[in-house]
Subunit: 321 residues, 2 copies
């Protein structure tokens, strides 16, 4: 019996899971929050602890790893983490290979999530897929012809920093009107707070939901009150949906993937949000392009399932297509 | 000795060329303009005549074909031609296969040009490439991991209809501010004519070049006088370069190709044009992306060389990467 070990080094939490090769259910899964001010060493030690628990003395045949930050996938070297110190140029693949005595494959979480949805989730049966997650940021990953497409510098999938509105507000990256600047949760919430500040009569339901504390408004509050008819919240949410739709339509024109899978907290903003995203993407893409935009199926577990797919790839390289 | 026959059904002209397998020089090449009001049958007959000339009685080992319009590449069926009647759903691959008694591979001209530059031109030595041609329209083709990426509906590479400016002028496709609407030759010239009409004092050199006949202004006139310091011509050319740069930067963020190859008449607009294209693309793409934008090397012959590469692929399928 072949065991696959899947590890997910997220920004704020770590997960380890084990399954028998070919199965679709975890045999064991453990999660733990990353300690505040943790270092890479802390995370590795916690991860090794979680892995020992789920392995229960068994040895994995292969290990797949999702990492929440830029990774040189081929060499399995972490470039850095935005959340945790000490990851700079860390040879994660070699370290884990020594530790577990098994083959290890590592990729960043956008790519593993894309691969997870492709292999086990909303992308099953497709030949190509664009996965986009909309939460704190807007990130993406490609699977083309059954393989993750990482790009020459490992930077493919940066849909969040494509332009939706060249005259839009300034993004932290320096440009104006990036998809992320208009569609991500924090920026969307900031837009709502700004409008609440300048339009004292508007956004009644949104104000009520936060007890008048405008600074407490989050993207979730916006989605909730938009669904209940708050005009200001709807305006904010629709602009975010518009920007995402433009980004997806542009991506469809460039790559024409078979399916687009959307995950992340902001995409749980209700029917109206989805309608605008789909309509704008449809209008932006050429009419000959079939455009299927569907919700992610695996959500938070997508990177872990992608790690399984990475490990499977080590055991049985798929035949040349 | 293996002979490869390459055919190019362009919008206004037909070409046939023959080379010995593995060689980099044509053994024979013939071109002829497509007759005005020609039908598909006329083009096929002319092409068969040109092919007979270059083959000089020999039989080709394989035939590669570039077609100036949408093609179902796998089946080798032409969907339609914008220029020539009678091509709707035409089984070009089967027809030519019967005619020449050899394997035939067909693709549209954006893809064959991309493949041509990749294999024999400015993309040699790359793993991935975006080819963009800027002339009457703005079209593109991808080579990823050594293969043409066509997309699920054969529509990949439509960079001309990605958005550069959501508030820009209306494109014939119905959207506003498409890259093609801002960067193509005819639209660029129309922009110049418009400014000449509304600014009677401006564009002195441009007016002089066309002898005061504003309606005669073409993209070439704009480029020529921009190079000679005409402020109006520069403004027009720089907006076109800006739009192309945005499109390329967005494409780089999404796919991170190793190289971008630019061809087509408008890209011969001089140093200033290239500087703006490169600067805007660089500013639009994330800083971690190395971005190499180079001129096409094969120009009008790129589709023909791509046809050679298609035919080579029939003879010796490249080993799985």
């Amino acid at each position: 019996m072949s065991l696959i070990l899947a590890l997910d080094f997220g920004g704020t939490k770590l997960s380890a899971a084990v399954l028998e090769r070919g199965q679709k259910r975890w045999r064991a899964l453990e999660r733990a929050p990353s300690r505040p001010h943790a270092t890479a060493e802390d995370d590795l030690s916690l991860c090794s602890h979680l892995a020992a628990e789920v392995l229960a003395g068994a040895r994995p045949a292969a290990v797949g790893v999702s990492f929440g930050g830029p990774v040189e996938a081929v060499r399995g070297v972490v470039r850095l983490s935005d959340h945790v110190l000490g990851w700079e140029d860390y040879p994660l693949k070699d370290h884990l290979g020594d530790h577990f005595g098994a083959g290890v494959s590592v990729d960043n979480d956008a790519n593993t999530a894309a691969l997870g949805e492709f292999t086990y989730g909303a992308g099953r049966g497709c030949d190509s897929l664009l996965y986009v997650t909309v939460s704190t940021g807007v990130g993406g990953g490609w699977v083309l012809g059954g393989r993750v497409w990482r790009g020459h510098d490992g930077m493919a999938g940066e849909i969040g920093h494509t332009l939706a509105d060249a005259n839009g507000p300034r993004c932290y990256c320096g440009k104006r009107g990036c998809v992320e600047r208009l569609a991500s949760g924090p920026y969307l919430a900031a837009h709502a707070r700004e409008l609440l500040g300048t339009q004292p009569e508007a956004g009644e339901k949104l104000r009520a939901l936060v007890g008048g504390d405008v600074e407490a408004v989050t993207a979730k509050h916006v989605a909730e009150t938009a669904a209940r008819g708050d005009a200001l919240a709807r305006e904010v949410l629709e602009r975010a949906a518009w920007a995402l739709g433009v980004g997806l339509g542009n991506a469809a024109n460039l790559m024409n993937p078979e399916r687009v899978v959307l995950g992340g907290g902001v995409t749980k903003s209700g029917e109206r949000y989805w309608r605008v995203v789909r309509e704008v993407a449809r209008a932006t893409a050429r009419s000959q392009i079939r455009l299927e935009i569907v919700p992610a199926a695996l959500e938070d577990d997508a990177p872990l399932w992608g790690a399984v797919a990475l490990a499977e790839g080590l055991l049985a390289p798929s035949p040349a297509s």
